[in-house]
Amino acid sequence: MVLTGPRISSLGGFRRLVWTNGPSDEKAVSTVNIKLVGGAALGLATMLVLSSCGGGDAGTPAEGGSTGAAAGGEQVTLKMVAADYGDNPTADNAGTKFWKSVVDGFQAANPNIKVEVQVISWNDIDKQVATMVQNGQVPDILQTGDYSGFVKDGLLYKTDEVLSPEVSKDMLTKFADFGKVDGTAYGIPFVSSARALFYNKELFEKAKITEPPKTWDELKAAAEKLKAAGVSQPFGLPLGQEEAQAESFLWMLGNGGGYTDASGKWTINSPANVEAFQYVKGLVDAGLTTPNPGTKDRKTVWEDFAAGKVGMVNGGPMSIPIFDKGAVNGKYAVAPIAGKTGPLDTTLGVMDWIMAFNKNGHAAEIKKFFDYFYTGDATQKIVDNYKLLPVTNGGIEKLSGDEKLKPFLDALPNASFYPFKDPKWSEVNTAIKQTIGGAVKDDPAKVLGDLQKVAEGS
């Protein structure tokens, strides 16, 4: 009895289905009327039956029969899943609003094709998409952070099946190359971003620092001056769950290291990387960074920078809107990231992808949609809304006049990327996010060594 209690009760309040904690569940038990439970049972049973019927042929148009080309004015519905780049689901830049404007324009031009977009937050999209794939309910189009895991199992269309040659040609070559697995392109670059060092000019003046640090020694000296001037976090260091892999990578690059070497072999515990973390640990031990960096998310540290409590922090174009909303608006500047002996000649580049699944056979319609997306003003809207960088030569040219984005655009052609195509990356990435903060608290060699073991494990 007790086992079923809480579950039935969750029907009384669907919002509790995900975020349930014991006692709050029980509240519903006591308030749900017994009669209602019976009704709910029937309702649920009906719902499940309906949804399981609907699920089987999801994506196939109700009229049936259509595979591929929308011939003879037949209506085709494309299902699309996209990640949300907006601040939150109700913000002006929410993903749902962005995609609605794109889809409205597309549908007006192509009355035969309907596009249904489901926008999912970055926190959930990987797990939700994995569930869709596991249940055989893949969308037609997916826009997210990685495509490589779908290729091996033949789930994706090749790029040239769903993208016009003119659009393909305009893509930055280096980016498009990352979309290839064994020489064949499957992932289509969607947006990109790069990292640089943001510093608070007002705090720098107060601490009598004349220019942003170029080397690790200068960085430490600057941080000490900031500390002496009463800045609580001279260097913002987010090594917590949200994006530890990015911050770590930047420090590795600063010493000529990285997650893998040029041949793709894992080098997480290479001497260069260990030395980099020893240096960062020195900063942490001296109280020159965010306290307990291994528990701090990027979002929190960026907000602290926006509030004027952080002297320097690594950020990207997407942090500009956050900083502009805070007390630091107009008082910060951007510089290349300091390395051990000089400023970095590379930086972390991140690319997001869009891809087409071949299960429902809608190649022709998908092609129309992609061409509409890349040739229209949609990419410009992304830049305006989210400060993400375009992936086409045309798009980058258009932006060359933007002062704030210039350092990032300049860095893009020589950017370094995560080894995301390595099948072990997702597992390594998960482990990095959770544990790499320990490398600036305990023994760097041991923590990085454990991560290397994860990467090398079967």
Binding site: V2, P23, G240, Q434
Partner: protein, 294 residues
């Protein structure tokens, strides 16, 4: 006609049976099945994997510490919750001015979503702007805002007690109300008899109130045990189980694993499920719940 008669109970029990089968049994079967499959991070099922998911899970260096922490978590949260609730229930069972308001106030942490409560506590403990740290600074307990001293959620030694505190905070209202309901069922003549015999207050509580309260206490504690063990939002929203895995319980561990290995994550779910059953069995054995109260 007769045949229909036989089928009649089925019409009444049917929906509930269907519901249990669909909502409880089916997911359990799927969970167990998945734990023996090889599933890529992208959700592609690669086939049967034997016991490899379990082997990998048990070989994780963090597995046993996580299990031990889950146990401490359950015992601490349920223990404190029950003790505090027993006292509060006793208090709220007395007549005093403003009792109605006090009872309503107790509902507040229960009425608010657990996730919301956790996020509020996270912000109150924020090292730069948190109100709890502002008070600590004004009291001279910490030198300044923003440092490691002000960052209690950043270290397991201080973070875990705070997590337990929040879990107790959201569990107390339900438990108190369950116990209040239990207290209301104890007839007053038993107490009168005890008074006549000259029993002390402590003796009355120990020999009359507690034994008669046992059914309510058992149910309240049992529900707490299961739910606290499976509790996710508090820890996830306040620490993500960090630093490292040092504030993670098995539910959090399962969720993290889901990002890298779905099969292993399912294996963790099965272990979790087994743990709940074992904990429940142990608990029922200890509290001898079937034994009639004399």
């Amino acid at each position: 006609m007769k045949r229909l008669r036989v089928l009649e109970p089925l019409a009444w029990v049917g929906p509930a049976v269907v519901l249990i089968a669909l909502v409880v049994l089916w997911p359990v079967i799927e969970m167990v099945r998945t734990s023996f499959l090889e599933v890529s991070r992208f959700g592609v099922v690669r086939g049967w994997n034997g016991t490899e998911n379990y082997d990998k899970l048990f070989a994780e260096t963090d597995f046993w510490p996580v299990m031990l922490r889950s146990l401490i978590w359950v015992v601490a949260v349920v223990g404190f919750t029950v003790l505090i609730s027993l006292a509060l229930a006793q208090l709220f069972n007395q007549r005093f001015p403003g009792r109605k308001i006090a009872r309503w106030a107790l509902i507040a942490p229960w009425a608010a979503s657990v996730l919301m409560t956790s996020i509020i506590f996270k912000w109150m403990l924020d090292p730069e702007v948190g109100i709890i740290n502002l008070i600590r600074r004004d009291l001279g307990l910490i030198p300044a805002m923003g440092g490691a001293d002000a960052d209690q959620l950043g270290q397991a030694a201080t973070a875990f007690p705070w997590l337990i505190f929040v879990a107790v905070f959201v569990s107390v209202p339900f438990t108190t109300y369950a116990l209040l309901a239990g207290l209301a069922t104890i007839p007053s003549d038993v107490y009168e008899a005890a008074k006549m015999d000259g029993a002390s207050k402590f003796r009355t509580y120990w020999s009359i109130t507690l034994p008669l309260l046992r059914p309510a206490l058992t149910v309240a504690a049992l529900i707490n045990v299961m739910n606290v063990f499976n509790s996710f939002p508090i820890i996830w929203s306040m620490t993500h189980g960090q630093p490292g895995y040092s504030t993670a319980t098995s539910t959090i561990f399962m969720f993290i694993l889901k990002g890298s290995n779905i099969g292993e994550s399912a294996a963790m779910s099965v272990v979790n499920f087994g743990m709940v059953i074992v904990l429940t069995a142990i608990f029922l054995k200890i509290s001898k719940w079937k034994q009639e109260v004399a």
